[in-house]
Amino acid sequence: MNVSDLVLEVRNLTTTFGGGRLTAVNDVSFSVMAGEVLGLVGESGSGKSVTLRSIMQLLPASSAISGQVFWQGDDLMEMSNSELRVVRGGQISMIFQEPTTALNPVLSVATQIEENLKVHTRLDRAGRAARARDLMDLVGIPDAKLRLKEYPHQFSGGMRQRVMIAIALASDPALLLADEPTTALDVTIQDQILNLILDLRDELSMSVVLVTHDLGVVAATCDRVAVMYAGRIVETGTVQQVFAEPNHAYTRGLLGSVPHAGTERTMLLSIEGKPPGLSEIPLGCAFNPRCEFSTARCGVDRPELEDIGPGRQVACFNRDAVAASGSPIG
């Protein structure tokens, strides 16, 4: 992979709340290549959404973000507000979990799409209107001319997410950050939205960071995956590598807890216990109290994320044992 293909590089991103007492994202580093879909997976509270919001600096004032986020060679964390405004929405766009609340209820869809164009492009009024119609076609909303005049409450959930995507893509961003874009939708609509995102990725040659807790979504859409637990990345690799040979007990547990159609019926694995709260992250490996492979060392030292192959990293002392026990979906 060529270095020039790198679009986003996150280095040692750490986000704390409450004056540094609660660490939601801990020393997270990852990179996104051009045209790639990176999945960020984990249970609720693992820090995946906060990671996205930290990149966009959308967190409340009570938070503190450190680390670097390199975007086309510049550190977003060092940028002034006006520089940041050019990147946000223009080069990096974000879509949210709940399209119902992420759209402004009192503005028409046309107004909301054209607003992005007004801020980020030099198009005139007619140009913006034409582009808005094109975008509606692009995201697969029929009757663009008519529906542009409507308000968000006149759209169904799936259609609202399409509107949200149309707004986000209005000024041709190179990277789309998607924060659980399908969680609030029906399964059939989920599939349509994910396919839409993939099609648009190909059509517009952009990269996508997809935050989700759904491994099925990851398998269907992502090229690479980073698994997060308690604010840290515990395993990364291509989707094939990680799914075929999980090296971290947590990844293995996650994979085992997903039902699979078309295979013989087996008991689903479940991970005992619940993820730790931000104020009670265990000593050593954060996963050790719930881990079936844990040894004495796991409760004392924290395993670092180590390279075990090109683009393949894992943070586990007992990864050989985990790998040897095979993938629960293999």
Binding site: V106, N116, I167
Partner: protein, 280 residues
């Protein structure tokens, strides 16, 4: 042509709350009377008629005459002009200024919000009327000084309402989405958050106009607002106070005009709240 237009107007009225229709009708008529008082006033409001001193309601003088023989109906009608002006001008500046300040304070939070909280505390510690009277007595009586006094105090209430609404709205996803889209804070505040927060301020504005008519009348009565011989409801009531027992009509009819107009504003406020709530 009119045959087509009128039914369609009626049809669109049918969906509106009754209070809005009734209140709106009262207010529209009041504004119309206020703009064209001469159409409704049978006499010159300031013309003396020494043959008709303190005469009761009759066909010539439906609301009677006062101690100078001035026609009360004409004076009440001409007072619409002054009192509707008071309702609008005394509230529109506080509405705009208070809304702007409230939106900025609610959005930015922090020190601005703390300082603003102290200003609010300082203002609401004093009863509204007392504070306004104090300011007017410093500036001197008159309508313009009354507008200034009401404005200095009144904006705080709008600001407080809007600040609270904006504080809720700014945490919602669409505000974050706006920031993620690279919009400026000013654009997010005034284009995105304010339209979603303005309803309670609009409703309060209607109530405030009713309150301002009462306040204008109170100050007029006390001699601090509109000055005699200007026809203003509070002034008219004060004119009649010495004749309450013998000539009740001098004070009662301007009083009824105040009640009717106040009712109009209150009904519109209620109706507006109902309408905007159901739209959400």
């Amino acid at each position: 042509m009119t045959g087509v237009v009128i039914p369609s107007v009626l049809r669109s009225l049918r969906g509106l709350p009754n209070s809005l229709v009734v209140g709106g009708t009262i207010l529209l008529l009041s504004v119309f009377v206020g703009i064209f008082p001469s159409l409704f006033a049978p006499y010159d409001p300031n013309a003396f008629d020494y043959n008709e001193l303190l005469s009761g309601p009759s066909l010539q003088h439906p609301m009677g005459t006062d101690n100078f023989g001035r026609d009360v109906l004409s004076r009440v009608t001409h007072a619409y002009k002054i009192d509707m002006q008071i309702a609008f001008f005394a509230t529109v500046v506080p509405f705009i200024f208070g809304t702007t300040i409230g939106a900025l304070v609610g959005y930015s939070g922090g020190i601005a919000e703390v300082l603003f909280g102290r200003v609010v505390d300082a203002v609401i510690t004093f009863p509204f009327l007392v504070l306004v009277i104090a300011i007017v007595s410093v500036l001197g009586p008159g309508l313009v000084n009354m507008y200034i006094a009401v404005g200095v105090v009144g904006w705080v209430f709008y600001a407080r309402i809007i600040a609270a609404e904006i504080k809720v709205q700014k945490r919602l996803d669409y505000a974050d989405a706006g920031r993620a889209m690279g919009y400026t804070h000013i654009r997010i505040i005034f284009f995105h958050l304010l339209p979603n927060s303005i309803t309670p301020a609009l409703v309060y504005w209607m109530t405030d106009m009713a309150l301002c008519i009462l306040l204008g009348a109170s100050l007029g009565y006390l001699g601090l607002g509109a000055q005699p011989p200007t026809a203003e409801w509070g002034v008219l009531i004060a004119d009649g106070k010495n004749f309450m027992v013998t000539a009740w009509w001098i004070s009662v009819f301007p009083g009824l005009a105040i009640v009717l107009t106040g009712l109009g504003f209150s009904l519109v406020g209620d109706g507006l709240a109902e309408l905007l709530r159901s739209k959400r």
